[in-house]
């Protein structure tokens, strides 16, 4: 009996001496440079709070949301990196937890307009037109240049679904319209049709068609994708024409109620200037935290805040299937 008691005491002591199993946070993000950015902040978070961070990759934004939808009743993803329009959609489907601002005082570091009920906007991604100096017949400076007949068969443009419909919205904005008045944009897109060689559905493809020289001009590209190709001696040019600027906002949402406290801690961590600067240094984006600074590579592209157009994605998400049908019939058909 005495031996048994001694053994029990030893066992209890042994278990107590073992390090407690670390809490785990699962982050879903895009691959490539986006994964590197998420890892930079995720690994810093893991170190600071002594937790384990795991990463799951999404092939694209909508597949990421589809994954959240598929595991709605038993989520394994704690934090979802996505875009504001996609998280707006996810929130409308009750896929995201509410963000308890009172329990996360660190969120006060951000202007309130970036803190939404179910997600947090963290960094701005800039859009513009991209061209290759060695292949384009002239220097492009404005959106209307895309319709120049000299670009016949040299233009690649996004599909209607690219980046949540931003190509269509940009076409409308550049011609005096907006998401509630798409006619000017549609007329402009019809004028582009003779110039279009091919369409791309993802930002990865937009880079490939320009890099391979398949097209001389990409109608809409993401600065984060092209920043590494730019420079004074580079053949690549990224132009944000005058007028309203459309951005995409990298945003994060919390999906797993079982891990809500740790997820909230991460969201709070991501709002701080250090994390924002670290993420944007890799992604080449603009932090929304006013105390954080964007990387030097994109400082010249930073538009004045009043030029940034706040699109209504509740309207866009609702109308996009209809616009997509129109685009396929009128623009994508030969």
């Amino acid at each position: 009996m005495g031996n048994l008691r001694t053994l029990s005491v030893l066992l209890v002591g042994l278990v107590a001496a073992l390090p407690a199993a670390a809490e785990t946070l699962v982050i879903q993000t895009w691959s490539g440079v986006w994964e590197n950015g998420a890892r930079a902040v995720g690994d810093a978070f893991a170190k600071k709070y002594n937790v384990e961070v795991k990463y799951e990759l999404q092939q694209n934004t909508r597949l990421g949301i589809a994954k959240l939808r598929a595991q709605k009743d038993n989520p394994t993803i704690d934090i979802a990196f996505s875009t504001n329009d996609a998280l707006e959609q996810a929130a409308s489907e009750n896929l995201l937890l509410p963000i308890d601002v009172k329990a996360a005082p660190g969120l006060a570091a951000l202007p309130p307009k970036f803190v939404h009920k179910n997600y947090l906007e963290v960094m701005n991604i800039l859009f513009g037109l991209v061209y290759r100096k060695d292949l384009a017949p002239f220097e492009l400076t404005k959106w209307s240049d895309l319709a120049d007949p000299r670009l016949k068969g040299k233009l690649g443009v996004p599909t209607a679904q690219f980046a949540g419909g931003r190509w269509l919205i940009m076409a409308a904005l550049a011609n005096g319209g907006n998401e509630n008045n798409m006619e000017p944009g549609m007329a402009f897109l019809k004028r582009l049709k003779p110039n279009i060689l091919s369409f791309y559905a993802t930002d990865g493809e937009s880079v490939k068609v320009v890099q391979s020289g398949e097209v001389a001009v990409a109608g809409l590209g993401i600065l984060s994708d092209f920043a590494k190709l730019l420079g004074p001696s580079s053949q690549y040019r990224f132009v944000i024409p005058d007028g309203p600027v459309l951005t995409s906002v990298v945003s994060v949402g919390m999906a797993n109620p079982k891990n809500a406290p740790l997820s909230l801690k991460f969201v709070e961590f991501l709002a701080q200037p250090e994390a924002q600067s670290a993420y944007c240094a890799i992604i080449n984006c603009t932090p929304v935290n006013p105390s954080a600074s964007p990387p030097d590579a994109i400082k010249d592209f930073r538009p004045a805040p009043e030029r940034i157009y706040a699109a209504d994605f509740a309207v866009i998400n609702g109308k996009l299937p209809e616009w997509d049908e129109w685009y396929k019939k009128e623009i994508q058909a030969r």
């Binding site: 909508r62 597949l63 589809a66 939808r69 959609q89 489907e93 292949l135 068969g153 599909t159 679904q161 060689l197 091919s198 369409f199 791309y200 559905a201 493809e205 490939k208 391979s212 020289g213 398949e214 097209v215 996009l320 299937p321 997509d324 049908e325 396929k328 019939k329 994508q332 058909a333 030969r334």
Partner: protein, 277 residues
């Protein structure tokens, strides 16, 4: 273990059948959920009505079957030629061809498709060479159309044609051809009258595999079609993933599957009848 008299091997058969039954049950469950999603909504069958009532969506279907048919035809002709060459070639050449096909089969599809773009694209090696030689004034559009998609699909599906045909051709006894030659038949006649009829089962199997593979292709039409040649799989992906419209995506997929299976069934019946006569 107690085995009923006269049922030796029943246990083994049951053990072998179990995984097959599980796989079949999973397949049936997946297809059932697809069917239910496609019918559901208010009013019932609305997704089918929309899909079949709009030229835009019917065009996906027509394009998919047209591309699959062309791909099958070209793949079978090219695949047959390769398989036949393999039967006539030395062991070393045969091994080399098999190696190339296997290598191509296991290569990453996106890389393979991208290499076609680098070859046949506007700025690809072919167009640049033709421009440099002065044969053309402007790049010829070899991809971003159905032709380009068919080229890509033929490239991807060639192993599916070569191996079944080769396995049948290999079993045709050379003595049959020799007998034909002895009786005065020329090479072409002996091929069409003896070799080809005996290889029809391999050709038929290849037709079914290549056709169904092409009908469901996704990455190739997406990348080589340049947005102009989206097939039914692209439609289903966009509706299900980008628009969360599962019912509509399912309706398109069901229509395509049913038509595809009906065609395959008709084809196999035709081949069987021919074999009987």
């Amino acid at each position: 273990m107690i085995t009923a008299p006269g049922c030796r091997g029943c246990g083994v058969r049951a053990a072998l059948a179990a995984p097959a039954l599980v796989a079949l049950a999973l397949l049936a469950a997946a297809l059932s959920s697809l069917l239910i999603a496609s019918i559901g909504g208010t009013p019932w069958f609305q997704h089918y009505r929309k899909f079949l009532g709009d030229d835009l969506y019917v065009a996906y279907l027509v394009r998919s079957f047209r591309v699959a048919a062309w791909t099958t035809l070209v793949t079978i002709v090219v695949g047959y030629a390769i398989a036949y060459t393999m039967t006539q070639a030395s062991a070393t050449t045969r091994r080399l061809i098999v190696m190339l096909l296997v290598l191509q089969f296991f290569s990453i599809s996106v890389t393979r498709i991208y290499s076609i773009i680098l070859l046949l694209g506007n700025n690809g090696a072919v167009n640049r060479s033709l421009l440099a030689l002065g044969v053309i004034d402007a790049p010829v559009r070899l991809i971003y159309n159905e032709f380009g998609v068919v080229i890509g699909l033929v490239n991807a599906s060639l192993p599916f044609a070569v191996f079944p045909i080769f396995s049948v051709l290999e079993r045709v006894p050379s003595s049959l051809r020799e007998a034909a030659y002895t009786l005065g038949a020329r090479r072409a006649r002996s091929f069409w009258r003896i070799v080809f009829p005996l290889s029809v089962p391999g050709v038929a199997a290849s037709v079914v595999i290549v056709f169904l593979y092409s009908l469901g292709a996704f990455a190739t039409p997406l990348m080589l079609g340049g947005g102009f040649v989206d097939l039914i799989s692209v439609f289903a992906y966009e509706q299900a993933i980008n628009f969360s419209n599962y019912g509509f995506a399912a309706a398109g997929a069901i229509v395509s599957t049913v038509l595809g299976l009906a065609l395959v069934y008709a084809f196999t019946v035709l081949i069987e009848r021919r074999a009987e006569t």
